[in-house]
Symmetry: C3
Subunit: 676 residues, 3 copies
């Protein structure tokens, strides 16, 4: 759902249920004073809506909508399923999530309800239905948010049984499952689906997981993610039943962990939203998310679908032991601009007014509990004013469609935590720091996509860190390169199948065909007493690659040495170590395109140079040159002509950048729009 | 209870139940040989007293008392409720504490009994009654100790129900509780007291607690502390029933954690006691405890009540993974003297003779398991001889009543761990290192008091780190300054009410009146990319403050910027950051006194200078000048004339100090009495 | 069991149950191609053998044996009790181990079966019986392996009851137990054996244990170890029932933790085996194990019994978070040679072919899942060829019997974790780095033995770190020195009895007699503000010791100062600290021998010098001089004449060593045989 008349909206989250009704008009007036045009409400108000089972009260809430409407504030309504009320938590304990130790979550925090519980899904459906009925006709309503910061496991009996049924639906017989996962190993073979355990699967996160069978752990993670996706889809379906909601976008706020496959959850939604907190330490993390959000709902469309920054601090985060992210006015402004420059159409600050009680009282807000302005009032007024000036132009000139895509694979993130290669090797960090940021810093204009996306929309697809490559992705890659695309594969690619087991016939399960090589040797560079180097071949097939120096990468991983087939060119060979003399990096023309395969960890500069070389083959150029600290965003007319550039300097020092032959000086933490 | 004929007593803890009766006279004779005059016994001997339920045997114990008496050793009798016997642990599991995971404590260690258990309280009462009956007529008995190193949580059903009843008694209806804590937030509102959970409250300690509702967690901590206080009061009441015990002091040994509100527990007792282990790394910790112990039972009295050092190592502590505190003879002697110089009248070493079995066998003692002297026999003989010489003078010349008090607030210590500002910000350390030690090192003679104390006994009251300021404390402060007192408030003061929620009307809940300012802005100095400085106002109202340099403090915290009311003088303003240009430190004359308000973290030297300036207004001077490593204690006649000084050098280098115009050289780790 | 016709065998572990039958001959042929002569199989194949309860299928397995036999590969058969099948795990949950939190182990990993379960022992016995019946007549069978990497606790009801019965059998009455462990302390005394708890005993490992009663924790550890030993003995007895197995060695693979008393487990076996993974960081650890394995089954025999290296990586280990040990071809070759040079007769690599599914897919192998050669094929062929050349000579010239023994005491390792002296003081590391490696590096040819070994076979016995010295060991020591042996005792020796309690009469329980001194003082050198030094006595009794300089050791511990009896010579005295001026190191001639007692931590160079001085008294000389990085192994004829030396350079730099007057240059990571 993309709206040609869309405007950029700026606002905040607000919890009117915490405040006397007399405060509502004061707060709405203050929002107006800041130039705010949207407010996000009701995401935890279940108890106020349904104080007793099946007894509903929406009158107060409609009065909140009235107040907003009277002040010209549009409203995003959140469904409150992240915080069920006490009558539900205590009356129906089967609705609560159960942790790996068999303890049910308790009331008083949030996220205790379980989407694995049939009854909880029923309660959830009912409250959403009633809210849709109560609010959909109100003119203040702009959009819907489903739940809040989804996530969490359930290892209780109902979830476990559902998981076993999910396996049964997939494998048919237990013998099939035993065979698929090689369960004669360690005498693991099960006699029935009812025996299959549900081991802890803390995938994508920093936790240490048990070393249970990796195919089983992967399945637990998949089942969990699918359950959440179905839960979101259910709510979407209810919201869309009402005719007034057909044109209202539905969204939810993704979180930073990779525990859920958000690509699938977002599939049910109209807009991608994200909770993101920023400061100098987090910009690299946020950037990759913006590039992902922009592309995620735009697959197969001519223009990007604007995304929503659903939560970001107006100053600082909640404090405390867990996390403390603080920014100054300059940084907040730059980050907010970065969000819109990269393709967003909404910024919602978390939150509007400080809680006077409960958790997170210390979190940065715009208004204090006593109703005074907190910090950044002026910065906000300036920001909304500037967006009022540039907003229409930005909406008419979305980001230029990128020719380069980098694949971020959630299931492969799981793979790295389920069967880790090395202690320090976390997918999230390695992907971001070693395979994504070098592109940003060398001014490659790029999308971050999933392996489920349409590769045909791009000229270059970059796929690092994908041990598990599904058959349909492999097939899609083949078509892509045959039709003229250039793929940059690896390091780490394609040696596990969809069940996370190894191939028994060919090391790469058929990927051999397009990389133009077989496996010669697989080994690690994590030597204790050896040094592995790369010798780049001087007369290599790709421009500039032969001149690359051996620069050791900052981390080590599994390395592949290849036996090239005829027609495949060797770009670099190993020197030293088990792979001494064997090919490490390959180039193979395939159909109208080609495949660049990187067999081992390379340094960031080498990686950037290799991708640039692949881009040159595909006829793609960087969008700028100059300081690596300046993020450059080409904005274009709807038919693809560059009409300007967003520039944002992430550093505390001024920096220079050249776009379109023109050199720009960008101040410390400055973001601006440069029209051409 | 303070006894004019009181003598300084020195002795040790002893466990005769571990030893053959034939060893008793040998040990008592050895104590006599050291000059020891007191022994602490029976604190874990429940099983020997009541080997079977309701069958008692005190004969052996009376023979122990006889042996002591025969050797001129007085006895402190400990009630044994910290270690219930096996018949109780196994026969009455409802007597055992239950941890947050629902596991009952097991027999074989100690502290497994629960004061939250009605039955355990009954068993406890009975053994205490029987001991009182058995021992109170014995002439060897000097005093009573209740339990040992109290503390511990209980999350079992009985404790939980008691907690819910405690809430009901306080709030009356669940609606009141919901309203008081803002429980519409996250749909937390409860339907009945029976639903209110009892989340883990590891307050005051290093553990990470769940982020449950802070008002709820605070209540759990309060209920726990009150339960322990009632348990102690019950034992005291039983002991005092016997007429012979009317003049015998009752005490117990506080421990270093801030998990319990010892001020309330000590309320039932006659003397404050403490378990404290010392070495160079712990002197700063011990010092603040001595200053607290001296003042704690002396509120509203003309002279200080002597305190008891109930446990300290004669050499080293128990070893092992948990803690290892070692000291040499010089350090042990200095520390023991420090205890009496600062106002103590008893030193009990832990322990007399090495255990031959069980936990803590490695702990330092005076006699080995084989009955030989361990280390420090000579040092002990010298110490008891010196105390024999100076003891009477010390008892006749107690420490001079201090004019300055520093407030140590246990509930605010809890506040910092329940709703932490920052990961590294532990109340215990920040209080001690940044707001207490600078006073000691700059020779401010001071008491450490609670907010419950009578402020009227002081000229200057210093109150850092009190986010939660109760209404009665606020009222007391007002009276104090109006009548001529000077208060030094903050950093961090008064923005939370008694239920640990924020005020909705005025940021400081009325404290505005005496600080003479409203909140202009609240923000943190924990910047990622900003630097906050302080500009002291050159012609400030207080002597010397204008000349202070900007010295960055060693930690950062929440900062307050103020809007001063008429008549309030600005001493310093923020430079840089969100508060740029706004007032940070204020001075306001109030009635006959005044209030110095510090809005942000300051360096130690600035802090000392600010307090000294406030003292100057109140006409209070430092008691000495010179080396910050020398602790100086003025001792005075009972009508308040300085008659001498205790001096103790905490460092390993000789140091100079000037008192009363006379310069003294104090040797490394030397403590001595300097009469004038 | 030692076989004069024994050959050195080299091979790998293989899991044919994971592979199609058509792969078997290919794999066997590849083994032959490498020169492999043995394969280790079936250790996890229980489910394939007994797919349903009491239904057995060994036909497939016999075909595996046939294939091996046809390729000249001998077979070591592993009993599969480390991985029970699903019908057992689910059908008989009483067979599963229970952790300290009461949770049963779950199916799907390994080691879930419990030797504490009567029923599990019955199931185990049955599968072993059936395997013996099925395989013993097959000519391919070379040897048996019992279970795999034994270990693990069980805190379930059956184990707990068994533990209580074990205590009852030992103490007779609960009163005896109470008395033996001093349980009046903390009112711990039990009324019945049924009350005695089973606290966590994570002895020998890095985990932090509860501070439960040390005698109780020690008992839990002993009971666990004995239970495993009985379990192994049961399997051995079944295997030996078959006449064909009388000459087939039985072994199992020890692991690196000190959680079990392997000396006792190995007592039932014919050969000592070990799982050991190597790289530069682990050589010091592996070395001490080789010295131990060689001696362990050789007690009382003229020549050493060859040991088996049952698992070592052919390249790298499994990766992942837990551990990652990688080596290059040179290191793998050196380490393999080191194993045979030091007295081994078998090297089995783990593993042959990469798993295509499940845990440990990433572990280094010789053949990939697709059936291609992985790394190190050439290195393996060279290694097997060299062993074919030198193997017979090596078997005819075993290592020279050592004159020096160092005692490694498993129960004392437990002692250090049950009642730790200091946080950083882990027995395993201190023993290895401070008391074992200095001997290797100064070329003392030595065995590592238990305190249960026959000391009479040695001239010098070195016993550091033995707080707990049993009466029979003390008696054995006395006889040893009286008959001419020299003992080097301490630091840390003999102050705890067999129940891990302290002596009540003499500090060292009678050891006084041979050390020729009583305890003067016990103290620690872990000073906060003191420095303890050693003054070596210039005209000391032992050669060279007087000239030793005071070099502070790298760690501190408990120190003993002595009151020497007549005839005892003081080698060093304390200077500074509690022991100032008191004797620290003693020499006492006893009978025809003598005792060197070291009372405190000494530096590595001092320690080596002291042992060398003791050796000189006993007429023992180092076997080499030169680089400390070169390990030298004297090989001798069966009647004890040195016929050559194994030399292995553990470092990455070439190093020189002098043996028998001849100087050898040994290359980086080179191992070779130098015949004389």
């Amino acid at each position: 759902m993309s709206d040609k008349n869309e405007k950029i909206l700026i606002g905040a989250s607000w919890y009117p249920e915490m405040w006397a009704e007399s405060e509502w008009p004061k707060d709405a007036a203050r929002m107006k004073e800041l130039g705010f045009t949207i407010v996000r409400i009701f995401e935890f108000a279940w108890h106020k809506f349904e104080p007793k089972p099946n007894q509903f009260d929406f009158d107060w809430a409609k009065r909140v909508l009235d107040v907003c409407h009277a002040n010209g504030i549009q409203v995003m309504i959140g469904t409150p399923t992240a915080a069920p009320p006490a009558w539900l938590s205590y009356g129906y304990p089967d609705c609560l999530r159960t942790d790996i130790n068999g303890r049910r979550e308790t009331h008083g925090q949030r996220r205790h309800g379980s989407p694995f519980s049939r009854r909880y899904r029923e309660f959830s459906a009912r409250i959403v239905e009633k809210m849709v009925e109560a609010f959909s006709d109100h003119p203040a309503v702009h959009s819907w948010q489903v739940d809040n910061e989804l996530g969490g496991s359930d290892y209780g009996d109902e979830a476990h049984e559902d998981f076993q049924n999910w396996l049964k639906a997939k494998f048919g017989t237990i013998e099939n499952l035993n065979a698929a996962w090689g369960l004669e190993f360690w005498s693991q073979a099960y006699q029935s689906f009812g025996q299959v355990p549900m081991p802890e699967a803390s995938v994508g996160g920093p936790e240490i997981q048990e070393r249970h069978h990796p195919s089983l752990t992967m399945s637990v993670a998949r089942h969990r993610s699918e359950t959440w996706a179905k839960y979101v889809a259910m709510q979407c379906e209810i919201i869309r039943r009402h005719p007034k909601n057909k044109t209202r976008p539905i969204t939810t706020n993704m979180t930073s962990g990779y525990g859920l496959d958000w690509y699938k959850i977002n599939g049910s939604l109209d807009r991608v939203g994200f909770s993101m907190y920023s400061d100098l330490q987090h910009y690299h993390f946020n950037l990759s998310n913006f590039d992902r959000m922009r592309a995620e709902k735009s697959d197969g469309q001519a223009n990007y679908t604007p995304y929503y920054l659903l939560e970001t601090a107006p100053s600082w985060s909640a404090g405390g032991r867990m996390w403390n992210i603080h920014n100054n006015a300059q940084g907040i402004t730059m980050f907010s601009w970065l969000s819109t420059l990269l393709g967003g159409s909404m910024i919602l600050y978390w939150q509007w007014r400080s809680h006077w009680a409960g958790q997170e009282m210390q979190h940065g807000t715009l208004v204090t509990a006593t109703g005074e302005w907190s910090v950044n009032k002026g910065a906000m007024q300036k920001l909304t004013a500037e967006h009022a000036v540039h907003g229409q132009w930005l909406m008419e000139h979305p980001p230029l469609r990128a020719d380069v895509a980098v694949v971020l694979s959630i299931e492969n993130a799981w793979a790295f935590s389920i069967d880790p290669i090395d202690d320090g090797m976390k997918y999230q960090n390695i992907f971001r720091d070693h395979y994504y940021m070098p592109l940003v810093r060398s001014h490659v204009w790029r999308d971050v996509i999933s392996e489920g996306h349409d590769f045909g929309a791009y000229k270059v697809v970059v796929m690092p860190l994908l041990p598990m490559l599904k058959a349909d992705t492999r097939a899609k890659l083949k078509t892509f390169v045959e039709q003229g695309g250039v793929a940059v594969l690896g390091p780490i690619i394609g040696y596990r199948d969809e069940e996370f087991t190894a191939y028994k016939d060919r090391a790469f399960g058929g990927l051999e065909e397009i990389i133009g090589a077989d496996s010669a040797l697989r080994f690690t560079t994590m030597w204790v007493n050896d040094e592995v180097h790369l010798d780049f071949v001087a007369d290599g097939a790709l421009p500039g690659v032969g001149a690359l120096q051996d620069v050791p990468p900052k981390y080590r991983n599994w390395s592949e040495a290849y036996t090239p087939r005829a027609g495949t060119q060797v770009l670099a060979r190993y020197s030293g170590g088990y792979g001494d003399g064997l090919p490490a990096i390959l180039w193979r023309p395939v159909g109208k395109g080609g495949v660049l395969t990187i067999g081992t960890a390379v340094s960031e500069s080498q990686y950037a140079a290799l991708v640039h070389a692949a881009m040159a083959v595909a006829g793609v150029e960087p969008i700028a040159s100059g300081s690596p600290d300046v993020v450059v965003v080409p904005r274009a007319t709807r038919d693809g002509k560059v009409a300007g550039y967003g520039v944002a300097n992430l550093s505390k020092a001024a920096a220079e950048i050249t776009v379109d032959g023109e050199s720009l000086l960008v101040g410390p933490l400055e973001a601006r729009l440069h029209k051409v």
